[in-house]
């Protein structure tokens, strides 16, 4: 009788703990593998621009000739530092000194691209724009400055 009572309480305890186990499972199978993605190369990007304003020509940064570069639409250039996972503002003059590879996978096969999520808990009413790092079917968010209007320019081979 006592053993039956204990096994019933155990079953109820497992039932009560089910949401904890569910979230733990997602952490182990989604979060942990994605957190192993480590970017190996810095890259240049712009935000707040209306369309691409820079491109890579012969391994160097160059303005797109027919882009809208009026004062209000001028995009801000950022360098994403892979070692610290942080962004720094760079002037176009400094960025033009870098040796760049055009868009596509990095040397180790990473891809950086904009994405959108379903928004924040608890209402999920508005989509959130973000930038993700992808490789081998895994992806995770990158801490870029502003993800809206994100435009990837190229990988930095040498500064």
């Amino acid at each position: 009788m006592k053993a039956t009572l204990n096994s019933r309480k155990l079953a109820l305890g497992v039932g009560i703990g089910l949401p904890f186990l569910f979230v733990l499972g997602l952490y182990l199978f989604i979060y942990l593998p994605a957190s192993q993605l480590r970017l190996d190369q810095d890259f240049l990007y712009t935000t707040d621009g209306y369309g691409a304003q820079y491109e890579v020509k012969q391994g160097r940064l160059a303005p797109v000739e027919d882009s809208d570069t009026s004062f209000y639409n001028r995009a801000t250039l950022y360098l994403f530092d892979a070692s610290t996972e942080s962004s720094h503002y760079v002037s176009p003059e400094d960025a033009m000194q870098y040796r760049l590879s055009p868009t596509g996978p990095s040397v180790e096969g990473y891809i950086v691209e904009p994405a959108s999520s379903d928004g924040h808990m608890p209402f999920w009413v508005s989509s959130e724009y973000t930038v993700v790092l992808q490789k081998d079917g895994l992806s995770r968010r990158l801490p870029v400055n502003k993800s809206y209007g994100f435009d990837f320019i190229g990988w930095v081979d040498a500064r």
């Binding site: 039932g15 186990l21 999920w124």
Partner: protein, 333 residues
């Protein structure tokens, strides 16, 4: 034996020296006080309305205080915001302690404890904002929710008010949902990961967890929570199931067929546990489901006029069925 015969028999026993005054007084002292189940139905209803009035009163006081604070929030310095937001929670809690001592047999203290624990997240969010964490971020929300859950559980252990256990349960659910949101925001961009579906499954597990908790608390001091937990668990499960069906990529999906089984489960539980509230909830969701299925699957093939007639007929049938079940098997929640 009527009253006069009983008194006469007692009189004889007293004269025979078989019964003393002390024996009579002992009988009076040892007679147990009436239990809540002995009280008339009208009295119980009155007590219940009294409790509800306490909670409504507490809520109105809280709304008034927060309106006052919100109107002056932008003019307040940072430390004043912290004092006001935490201060409200602490002052309401202390008022609850005072009421518990002055009116120990009423629900006044419990309602104030509930208001205090409901106010605590605002104080914690203000603190996080001051120390440069975004209070709206998923991890901040998880931290706030778990701190509140621990506080509510601690206060429940101390004060034994079941409403605090309910608060701890709700905060735990919020905290885990915030952690899930953080996981999806960080790594949920793979095409194979469906954030809405995972969130729905989480709420189904939470609903199941509430059912288990209700079962565990059934014969304890916190048995009053059973109905609330069953109702919340059913709402979580039925809303999540409906979201899964609406977001299904194939038509008809697994949930198109399984959702009626969930509704039937809710109705069966209402009969088995004799809970009218579960029957009402299941019926409401059945009506919503009938309208949804009609619009999704039959409006094109039958046309809207026939689809509406079909939906109306099914809703009338559902209502008749629910009425018969309620009359025969359930009791008011």
């Amino acid at each position: 034996m009527n009253k006069h015969e009983a008194l006469a028999a007692i009189n004889v026993l007293i004269h025979q020296a078989n019964l003393s005054k002390q024996d009579i007084l002992t009988i009076f002292n040892e007679t147990p006080a009436p239990t809540p189940t002995d009280t008339p139905r009208a009295a119980r209803r009155k007590l219940s309305l009294e409790s509800i009035a306490y909670y409504i009163g507490g809520g109105i006081v809280l709304a008034g205080l927060w309106t006052l604070v919100a109107l002056n929030w932008s003019d307040m310095p940072v430390d004043a915001r912290l004092i006001v937001s935490f201060g409200l929670a602490v002052m309401t809690y202390l008022a609850g302690v005072g009421f518990e001592r002055a009116l120990p047999r009423t629900e006044a203290a419990a309602s104030l404890y509930f208001v205090a624990i409901a106010t605590l997240p605002v104080g914690l969010a203000t603190l996080l904002d001051i120390v440069v964490f975004d209070p709206a971020a998923a991890l901040s929300q998880a931290a706030i929710a778990f701190i509140c859950a621990v506080c509510a559980a601690g206060l429940y252990i101390y004060h034994k008010k079941s409403v605090l256990l309910l608060a701890a349960t709700l905060y735990s659910t919020w905290g885990l949902a915030a952690l899930l949101s953080h996981i999806l925001e960080y790594a949920g961009y793979d095409a194979d990961i469906n954030g809405v579906a995972l969130t729905s499954y989480y709420f189904i597990t939470a609903g199941f967890s509430y059912f288990c908790l209700a079962q565990l608390l059934h014969c304890t001091r916190a048995a009053a929570l059973t109905g609330t937990l069953l109702g919340l668990g059913l709402v979580y499960t039925l809303v999540a199931g409906l979201v899964l069906e609406i977001n299904a990529t194939v038509n008809p999906s697994f949930w198109t067929f399984f959702y009626p089984a969930l509704l039937a489960g809710g109705m069966y539980a209402s009969v088995r546990l004799a809970r009218n509230a579960l029957l009402v909830l299941s019926t409401i969701f059945l009506v919503i489901y009938i309208l949804y299925v009609t619009s999704r699957y039959f409006s094109d093939s039958l046309g809207w006029p026939f689809a509406l007639m079909l939906a109306g007929g099914m809703i009338i049938g559902t209502t008749i069925l629910a009425g018969k079940l309620r009359a025969r098997f359930t009791r008011p929640a």
